[in-house]
Subunit: 398 residues, 2 copies
């Protein structure tokens, strides 16, 4: 294995010049800048001795020409709007560096992990979970524009979509920035990911009666905002009893109607979600949520309704890949790494439907993500690359 | 006393034709429709034998020509935008009917109770609590336009402003729609107002740390939304221990930032208010609120800040006027009336700084107010008029 970390950093810097926005980049999926970066990547793959293809959904796939067992490695190359230079790019260029180092690695940039047009279109297509009807129906999340014409404009219409070759890959690896502050806060440099959390997301709608605050006694009121506060306070009190150590839950959105100082809210709409690595724990949290809504409906004169609006399954990382990455981390930065779940979603959770997966985190400065100021120290990028390569080597040999 | 309730209803219907909007009216203060209604009212006052003046702030004052003791009676004639035909108008036309009935009553339409340009400009001007500097500073609440040019355009520039004549009035009376459902719900037809509640209004700002829901553990979080929920739940638990029977408290507005489903709220801004008839009770509620915010700041990692943004003092109604109105109600609709505080604000609370005041409520259908569909049954209007007149007569004789 001949790892060239200077070249790895040069490639990252070169990719950063495509769609530059301040110190970050702006490459929404299938935009001219995004397509430029995909073609640039395909040329880098060929240069590294891989057979490069851009498929019908925009996946950029570099196939290793030699014998296996093979690893699949990669991440995504498009970005959120006006976002960071490393989110996605790090895992793609890291995978390219593995191939350049002579490891038997197929490199892939999975299209549209960032969800401009749907949910994990590229990785779902690769694992066979994306139909032509899904493509017909897909729309841009911001503009509502249909996907098909955008694919045609990007030069992708009519291209076949690639599928994972059964039995080819021993596993899949993805390096990514942490998008949090746990490593930084702990003074650590590497996170070995134990799994990607599942998410269950809910809309909670509470119907009350809009009234003037002056003319309506407390007894007469049906205050939807107050019923919402009581339900959220009950969740705050009860969830700690059913959750696991790393469970999280969040009320990100509260909308009162009419949300005017002197009017009793007639309606409240909340968006609530929770995450955990374990389906069993999430089932307990969901049962608790349902029980608390039922209790609210017994207690309050404002009926509450629970609607599931999002669900993704947790994806545990492969024990053998984790062991290889732990060994590599302990060899290269002893005591300066930890095991941790990924709270954010990644293509690896889709790949996990077909392959053993593993992920490696490097620190994010200040935890900033999905913003152009996102960054990671160069020595952390370099160390991450070395741990990834050593972990890949160990796993392939195991 | 020669009360003509038919004429009273005719006057109400006539006024309703000025600025008609659906079944309601649209007469914002100093608009052409509003000024048309003020001139119409001045002609009706002259017709009723009063000396009518429109003063420099738009008060329409009809002075009784005979000997006292005099009552002052009235309400406001402008409306909220696209609002009801009775809110304000009822008290003005009711006062006019008292004068027509031969009672020694000065009639006044106090300008801008609805607050298009400020707080109680007309009644404050009458009691001497409005300076020329206040007028210079006043702006339209919706458009931001300055008041002075609007007064000029309405033909009011340069007119003197009237002041209450010391010792002239034995008291002030105001009839108004309830703007609530207590009378309707109780099957009652008259409310004798015990006082107008005071209001204290607060902005509560809670500062946290915006973060991604996935990457931030519960321990690391500084969730401003959750801190807000806990504070509001504490208010919900503690206020019943310090409040009085008719106290009310409301969180009308909750603004989270950025209020996105998958982002931990970094900031929460609440508007909270409470009302009661008693300063002592409001002082207890305020002390409790301060204590709960201090406790929140000990408990939470998101500092909460309390800003007073509004305060009006409670105005108890005069015992002798209340007694006269109770006697009239019991004589004219025995068992179908109740004593009640006014939760909404009215000019009477300003007049109470100088005069004994009393108020009478008639039912609002469905409690609707500040909306063009506001209405009251004609038999309730007529009964209200009769109780008001009989109450006025009794109080003048007492």
């Amino acid at each position: 294995m001949q790892l060239d970390t200077d070249r790895f950093l040069q490639d990252l810097d070169a990719l950063r010049t495509i769609g530059t926005y301040r110190t970050g980049v702006h490459r929404p999926t299938f935009s001219p800048q995004d397509m430029e970066s995909r073609h640039w990547l395909a040329r880098r793959m060929e240069e590294a001795g891989l057979d490069a293809t851009i498929d019908g959904i925009g996946n950029v796939f570099g196939r290793h020409r030699g014998r296996g067992p093979h690893l699949l490695a990669g991440s995504h190359i498009e970005t959120q709007n006006h976002a960071g230079w490393l989110d996605g790019a790090l895992g793609v260029i890291g995978a390219l560096a593995l191939a350049r180092a002579g490891l038997p690695v197929d490199v892939c940039a999975y299209a549209d992990e960032e969800g401009h047009w749907g949910d994990f279109l590229g990785s779902r297509s690769l694992v066979g979970d994306l139909t032509e009807a899904d493509l017909d129906a897909a729309r841009n999340r911001t503009t509502g524009a249909p996907l098909r014409p955008a694919l045609a404009e990007a030069g992708l219409a009519g291209r076949p979509r690639l599928a994972l070759e059964e039995g080819r890959h021993k596993g899949a690896l993805e390096m990514h920035i942490e998008q949090g502050t746990q490593l930084e806060t702990g003074g650590l440099r590497i996170g070995v990911v134990t799994g990607i959390v599942g998410i269950r997301q809910w809309r909670i709608v509470i119907e009350g009666q809009q009234d003037h605050t002056g003319g309506t006694t407390m007894r007469e009121r049906r205050d939807a905002g107050l019923a919402a506060v009581r339900l959220l306070a009950a969740i705050d009190a009860e969830f700690p009893k059913v959750c696991a150590e790393r469970s999280v839950w969040t009320t990100g959105r509260i909308l009162l109607e009419p949300n005017l100082p002197m009017i009793i809210p007639g309606r409240a709409e909340l968006v609530f979600s929770f995450r955990d690595l374990s389906v069993e724990v999430m089932d307990r949290m969901e049962a608790c949520l349902h029980a608390l809504v039922r209790e609210s409906n017994r207690r309050e004169r404002c009926p509450a309704r629970l609607e599931a609006i999002g669900r993704s399954e947790p994806a545990p990382c492969d024990p053998a890949i984790q062991a290889a990455l732990r060994g590599a981390a302990e060899a290269l930065c002893p005591g300066a790494w930890q095991e941790m779940p990924s709270g954010a979603i990644h293509d690896s959770q889709v790949l996990a439907r077909k392959l053993p997966v593993g992920m490696l985190f490097v620190p994010s400065i200040g935890g900033i993500s999905h913003h152009w100021s996102e960054d990671t120290k160069r020595e952390d990028l370099e160390l991450g690359m070395r741990v990834l390569a050593e972990g890949a080597r160990r796993f392939l040999q195991a």
